[in-house]
Symmetry: C2
Subunit: 370 residues, 2 copies
């Protein structure tokens, strides 16, 4: 079993393509409709093809500035693990959470109905119509809670993919996203901008929810893209972060942000890191209202840009700051400046990591065949 304890923002040494042959890959654009409550998509119940499986799902950066509530991407080397096994001691069709370890494990419920991984696993089991087998799940939190790095989505993604893999991976990416959305809607709202990239990897544009329509934006492999993630020791007041959002946006800001979102997507598809950073930095709608709630954030952004980052903004609802660059060493220097700015201007201790784009998404890292 590949479970290992991870401290917050401590990158994982993980071979991303290992044991990852079975997850269905969606095409560039995929339309798929599901009712808000998953209903079984298989007419016959599948039998397990594995005895146990361990999966990993990456951290995600949602919003990326002007992509508020519809754009997110996955970040390599940070994430959560789920181990899942067929367990004769668990009632058929049911799920038991046997253990939770790692970050903030004491804060998480072992009741599957109150746990991100549990809710998502149960939703995937429902989609698969699992009635004859009981499952036991163990969650290893690599991500800190409430950091703006898609912690709940990573647990949900790892759990859904674990269930799917255990039964031969009949579910599509979109079905897995829908299972994960069951969890996300209970924890942080009905938003797919973390769960979709956590499952599918790369950059994902959420085009609509009814029906669920996701567009994977391929960032060219030849271009280098590094995320500098700087997480301060600060609890972003989630309710405040939502309440701070403007209810109405003036037409000039609407046009501006729309054009920047469009430019951001163009930059991703062209592999234009400078353009991506510029667009990411350009949000005039959400960032200006949220940044003041995170001590030092504007100074951190300034430090990142002055340090050579192509762009910087809040990751998700924060408090993590995300900057981008095309060079790992430069990324570390930028990270140091950002950590310093959090301390000097916000009075907050912070930790920085430099990570690549995760192009794979949630995946199997080890398994035991039947």
């Amino acid at each position: 079993m590949a479970i290992c304890a991870q401290s917050p923002l401590k990158p994982i040494n993980l071979s991303p393509h290992l044991n990852h042959p079975t997850i269905h890959k969606s095409p560039f654009t995929c339309n798929f409709s599901l009712s808000s409550k998953p209903t079984p998509t298989l007419s016959t119940e599948p039998t397990p093809t594995l005895t146990s499986v361990t999966t990993f799902a990456p951290a995600t950066v949602a919003n990326l500035g002007p992509g508020f509530d519809f754009l997110g991407c996955a970040v390599d080397g940070l994430g959560d693990f789920v181990s899942l096994s067929v367990d004769p001691s668990v009632h058929p069709g049911q799920l038991s959470i046997s253990s939770i370890s790692g970050n903030a494990s004491s804060k998480l419920s072992k009741d599957p109905l109150l746990n991100c991984a549990g809710i998502s696993a149960l939703a995937a089991m429902k989609l698969l119509n699992i009635r004859s087998v009981g499952l036991s799940l163990s969650l290893q939190k690599g991500l800190p809670l409430g950091s703006g790095l898609g912690s709940s989505a990573a647990s949900a993604a790892a759990a859904a993919v674990a269930v799917n893999s255990l039964f031969g991976s009949p579910l599509t990416h979109l079905e897995l996203v829908h299972a994960g959305l069951e969890s996300e809607s209970k924890v942080s709202g009905y938003h797919a901008d973390n769960i979709a990239p956590a499952i599918m990897g790369g950059f994902i544009l959420i085009r609509s929810y009814e029906p669920l329509d996701l567009v994977k934006l391929e960032f060219p492999e030849v271009n280098d893209l590094y995320f500098v993630l700087v997480s301060p020791e600060f609890e972003a007041p989630t309710k405040k972060m939502r309440a701070a959002l403007p209810k109405e946006i003036g037409m000039p800001h609407h046009v501006w942000n729309s054009s920047q979102a469009a430019a951001l997507v163009a930059a991703v598809l062209k592999g234009d890191v400078a353009g991506l950073g510029k667009a990411m930095s350009s949000d005039k709608v959400v960032e200006p209202t949220r940044a003041p709630l995170i001590p030092g954030m504007m100074a951190v952004k300034k430090a990142a840009i002055e340090g050579g980052a192509f762009g910087c903004t809040i990751s998700g609802a924060g408090p993590t700051a995300v900057a981008i660059t095309d060079n790992e060493e430069k990324g570390r220097e930028i990270g140091e400046r950002m950590v310093e700015a959090f301390w000097k201007e916000g009075g907050l201790k912070a930790a920085a990591v430099v990570q690549k784009l995760d192009r794979v998404g949630a995946r199997v890292v080890s398994s035991v065949p039947r």
Copy 2:
């Protein structure tokens, strides 16, 4: 001289690549800053390399639904011509408009300071620092006025490129756009979503004005894309069309339209005509307020979609409706349905044409060397 009279929406048989070797091509993204009043960019005044030149600039479709005020594209086969010659009878450094013919020519002023082509030509002359040569301009309007097809931008683009070509084409695309913007700002507001594609061809995203930053979005050549343009005999009340715009946009609509603009750009770059149509059709901010001001517009959109179009919206501020498809013959059928709907539901006579994307932009069609 290749000037020929064109009736409204009568496509031009034009060889687009003929005599078009000298216009500077901009890279994918180009940053360029100019003050609002063009100032000379050349230290020495260039001498004419041609005695006379005739240029063509295409019609343009601005907005494309959620790309309101920052996205536009050029449409092949419809546009304006400008003929320009060195004229010793014109005072050095000045411009004379010798003739205006074609659509609505009687409505247009021959005073260069009150004419789109004149203003743009003078701005280009200023950029080139022309003081020793007088020029004579003749404008051939192929586009109807106030149709939502970028009529003023086509005249301005053809004029700016004519001036540039006459002097050996030292100006860049961005400088030419800036010259055209001088005209647009006086006629229809400081917007580059018509003038930029009229000059540069293809799809253009206007990322910012200060500095002027344009992103050319290459639609893959292998994919077929046809525009069905249906222009009713109706004067869109420009002031009303602007006044109808909402001043404030609720957050859900802001997020929706931003995501559709982003999806539109992704579809363009991927050559995904269906995705492009879907995004183009999805505007919840501008179209719902403007469409009711054009009799029959919503029925026309419905007819287009029912006829198999991938999407349909208002071209620019209207009244032209634009639908897209991937097949010319299908485009003609869709056009017939749209014309019928304008008549049945709006009581308006309308004419339809089916045109391809213009990838070239304003260009020289004939010239006489010195």
